[in-house]
């Protein structure tokens, strides 16, 4: 049954009139117009649809919108500061050239941001393992690992600051 479902997206409260069984990916893209989150496979196989729910990465292509009721969703559009300052992960991806066609990039950003929250001091092997669910057809994995490594350093430095 269609009903009002409330949650927050990128810090902003939203209400959608939808069947709770509909998939979060399409509610984000179609109902809310947040097209930064991409469809790549629909089967949790590529990670292009990755968003954070309460800080944890999920595949929005298989996440029912009813399950995020009352929770916080973050998408690639909401990662940078409101003043436009990029998140260290975003900044490092641009700087290291960790993207080409860019279609997997929003998912990579979300996966990396979620990963670093729980693994603030990862090795390169940890990063590769943590990002394994996300595919990049252009072959930028080496540069993404470089970028996440740099972002981790930068985030730790920010933490250490008084």
């Amino acid at each position: 049954m269609r009903r009002a479902i409330r949650f927050t997206v990128n810090g902003r409260p939203v209400e959608v009139d939808a069947e709770p069984g509909r998939l979060l990916l399409w509610v984000l893209r179609s109902d809310l117009g947040l097209t930064g989150t991409k469809y790549g496979c629909g089967e949790r196989e590529c990670g292009a649809c990755t968003v954070l729910v309460d800080g944890r990465p999920v595949f929005s292509c298989r996440q029912r919108v009813g399950s995020v009721e009352g929770r916080e969703v973050m998408t690639a559009e909401g990662v940078a500061s409101p003043d436009g300052t990029l998140h260290p992960v975003q900044e490092a991806l641009v700087e290291h050239g960790g993207l080409q066609c860019g279609f997997c990039t929003p998912g990579m950003v979300m996966r990396a941001v979620g990963f670093l929250r729980r693994n603030p001091d990862p090795t390169r092997e940890d990063i590769a393992r943590g990002m394994e669910t996300n595919l990049c057809r252009c072959g930028t994995y080496n540069r993404i690992v470089d970028a996440v490594e740099q972002a981790a350093r930068q985030l730790r430095a920010q933490e250490d600051r008084p």
């Binding site: 509909r22 179609s30 097209t35 690639a76 066609c101 930028t140």
Partner: protein
């Protein structure tokens, strides 16, 4: 064999012109349809009254980096900051006609006329400035969007001031001389991607991200196999879903809704029965099928006499190499939004050839090409697969049928099903070395794969190279599946076969594979990249197999010469190949953005791991077995070897193709490294664990 075009022909939509033609003939025609680039510089760039430079190109950005590199060339020539250039790509109403973005041709062929246009524009600016400042033109310099008096730089005027209130058109005559490639400050300098920020913030728009008021998303009923015919479909339940519209016309059955997922769910309520396709080959007998179904062979290269070469050989080795069908699998499936009205159509599409799509859409609609506008947002990977625009054709037809803008965004399953695969290929090669260990004989036949890079970069006195069929031209009709250009088309498999055979001959000659190549290389550029790769690799080369898992390969593609070296570890129990290290050296002439060039080289090497080791499309009587990434395995983070690349500088040559050469090395260099590790020769791509185990058995 029944193909997709038959499926569409019997739909009775009245789309007669395009779909009753052989789509592969159409493809062949457009592949070889060259036109000159327009010579009106307003078509290339416009200097605005605010000093910003709008830059127009029919090329598209699909990751290869022309959004950055072409503006670099322009900014350099025009003497403006890179940040003042606004690129406008792939909009058929605004941009000069272009054949399409493929073949590593953007910088090679679009770059020179664009530079010339910039030089012409600068000459106009200097003329205007001379008049304004009362200084003779030959005493004027340009820098950062300013024309100044060389004798007194304080006397100056900005491009913006000169452009104000003007409407000047200038035709490129090619008489204005260009800056020599020295003292460059923008072009040739490593530069961050200009589209990076938009892409990491989710702001970059792709075709499926474009939204119009009143638009509907379509999901289309698909056959279980190519060649299946729709017998019967019941759409009653789907049509009863609130907000759903069903379009039904012969075999074309589409369910439309404001939300794509609701349309998908409603499509699931359609019950359909299909007649199975006619008998046809499958993966188990594809190579026998192809051997027995040969197009006419053409000679690619020939010298001396094969019989003399064979006679002069002390040892002859004969090999057959094979490659299976494989998919493009860009992360972005094909998508389009079409808005058709009485005046024509506007189409946003993920396409590598917007001007071709414009013509195709005009044919569908029966209107002049000028009434169709194709706009190309960022393209989420193409690799050759987005030269086919079926999804946009469908969007055009459905938009016309429902009188509203319609989005057709393919699912991953549709993307695999309708892909134009890298063709399955057979290569027969016989070659011989004389008593001195020199290659003197080379008889090479490519069947069904294409001739690109089939002529070896080595000097062999008696040789003949032939190619029969391929991914373009007359070849595709011989394949049971739709085939097309896959990044480095033909070259991936040709390099795999050539370089494997060269390694075999080096071993016969008792030589190490590097010095054997250096001695036989036709030109100094090839020796240059081999030496550069060897320096980077830093290992001593021994006659194989050495047990260390080291491989080397070299070749030429798109005007570029390339060499690669790799180290692998082979698990003899599982047959799994672990790539530890790949190095690559490229001489691609003048380099516009060294950072972008390295990204393309590295990306090609990583992408190439897939076709070399895992990626393969299986099929059976028109059914495609791999329909998503659970079965079709792409390279992933855990595969990542150490990757090192180096560019051999050669600015005098002018820019060559940089997007494809490295990927064409990977099958070759890994085959040779595997042989060096286990002493067994791999003859078929991909080199899966099963095939490695079979070689070991």
């Amino acid at each position: 064999m029944t193909t997709r075009r038959d499926f569409l022909r019997i739909s009775g939509m009245g789309i007669v012109v395009l779909y009753t033609m052989d789509i592969r003939e159409l493809m062949a025609r457009r592949t070889f349809q060259f036109r000159d680039y327009p010579k009106d510089f307003n078509a290339y760039l416009r200097i605005g009254e605010d000093g910003r430079v709008a830059f127009f190109t029919g090329k598209i950005e699909m990751g290869q980096g022309v959004y950055t590199s072409l503006p670099q060339m322009l900014a350099e020539e025009l003497d403006v900051p890179l940040s003042s250039v606004d690129p406008i790509l792939g909009d058929t109403d605004l941009c000069p006609w272009d054949m399409g973005t493929f073949g590593s041709m953007s910088t090679r062929f679009f770059g020179p006329p664009m530079r010339q246009a910039a030089a012409e524009a600068k000459a106009v600016l200097k003329d205007l400035a001379a008049e304004r400042l009362g200084v003779p033109p030959d005493r004027l310099g340009t820098r950062d969007g300013v024309v100044y008096d060389v004798a007194d730089p304080a006397v100056s005027v900005t491009y913006a001031e000169l452009a104000r209130g003007q409407r000047i058109e200038r035709v490129v005559r090619g008489e204005v001389s260009r800056d020599e490639p020295t003292g460059y400050t923008v072009s040739g300098v490593a530069t961050e991607r200009q589209d990076g920020r938009a892409k990491v913030t989710g702001q970059a728009r792709y075709a499926a991200d474009i939204r119009l008021d009143g638009m509907l998303s379509a999901r289309i009923l698909r056959p279980p196999a190519h060649g299946s015919r729709l017998r019967d479909a019941d759409t009653t339940r789907a049509a009863s879903v609130e907000g759903v519209r069903v379009v039904r016309d012969g075999d074309l059955v589409a369910v439309l809704h404001r939300h794509p997922d609701v349309a998908q769910e409603a499509l699931g309520m359609v019950t359909a029965t299909w007649d199975p396709p006619a008998e046809g080959p499958g993966s188990s007998n594809i190579f026998e099928y192809l051997e027995g179904n040969l197009p006419e062979a053409r000679v690619v290269s020939e010298a001396g006499s094969l019989s003399a070469g064979r006679a002069a050989s002390e040892t002859v080795r004969e090999s057959t190499f094979r490659a299976n069908y494989m998919a493009h699998a860009p992360m972005e499936p094909h998508a389009a939004l079409a808005s058709v009205d009485g005046q024509g159509a506007t189409i946003w599409a993920s396409t590598q050839n917007p001007f071709t799509l414009r013509r195709e859409a005009a044919e569908i609609l029966g209107c002049p090409e000028e009434d169709v506008r194709v706009i190309t947002p960022f393209v989420g990977g193409g690799f050759g697969g987005k030269t086919e625009n079926d999804q946009a054709h469908e969007a055009v037809r459905l938009s016309r049928a429902v009188g509203a803008p319609v989005q057709v965004a393919w699912t991953r399953e549709e993307e695999f099903f309708y892909d134009s695969f890298r063709p399955a290929t057979i290569v027969h090669v016989a070659s011989g070395v004389d008593h001195a260990g020199r290659l003197v004989f080379w008889d090479y036949r490519n069947l069904h794969g294409g001739n690109r890079s089939s002529d070896p970069v080595y000097a062999i006195p008696h040789h003949r190279v032939t190619s029969a069929g391929g991914w373009g031209g007359s070849g595709p009709r011989y394949h049971p599946l739709r085939v097309g250009a896959w990044r480095g088309p033909g070259a991936n498999v040709n390099h795999f076969a050539i370089e494997s055979q060269v390694d075999i001959m080096a071993e016969v000659a008792g030589r190490d594979p590097l010095s054997f190549r250096l001695e036989h290389a036709k030109d100094e550029r090839v020796r240059g990249v081999l030496r550069a790769a060897a320096d980077l690799f830093g290992e001593e080369w021994r006659a194989g197999p050495s047990g260390r898992g080291h491989g080397v390969a070299s070749g030429a593609d798109a005007g570029t010469v390339v060499a690669a070296m790799a180290e692998v570890d082979v698990d003899r129990k599982t047959g799994a190949v672990r790539v530890l290290r790949v190095v690559c050296a490229q001489d691609m002439g003048e380099v516009i953005n060294p950072e972008g060039a390295r990204m393309q080289m590295e990306g090609g090497l990583i992408q190439g791991l897939g076709y070399a080791l895992r990626e393969e499309i299986h099929f059976d009587r028109g059914a495609i077995i791999e329909r998503n990434f659970d079965r079709y395995e792409l390279p992933r983070f855990s595969w990542l070897p150490s990757i090192e690349v180096t560019i051999v500088d050669n600015p005098a040559l002018g820019p060559q193709g940089g997007g494809e050469p490295s990927v064409t090395m990977v099958g070759a260099v890994l085959a040779n490294a595997i042989h060096d590790a286990i002493g067994k020769r791999m003859h078929e791509l991909p080199m899966t664990p099963e095939r490695v185990l079979a070689a070991l058995a």
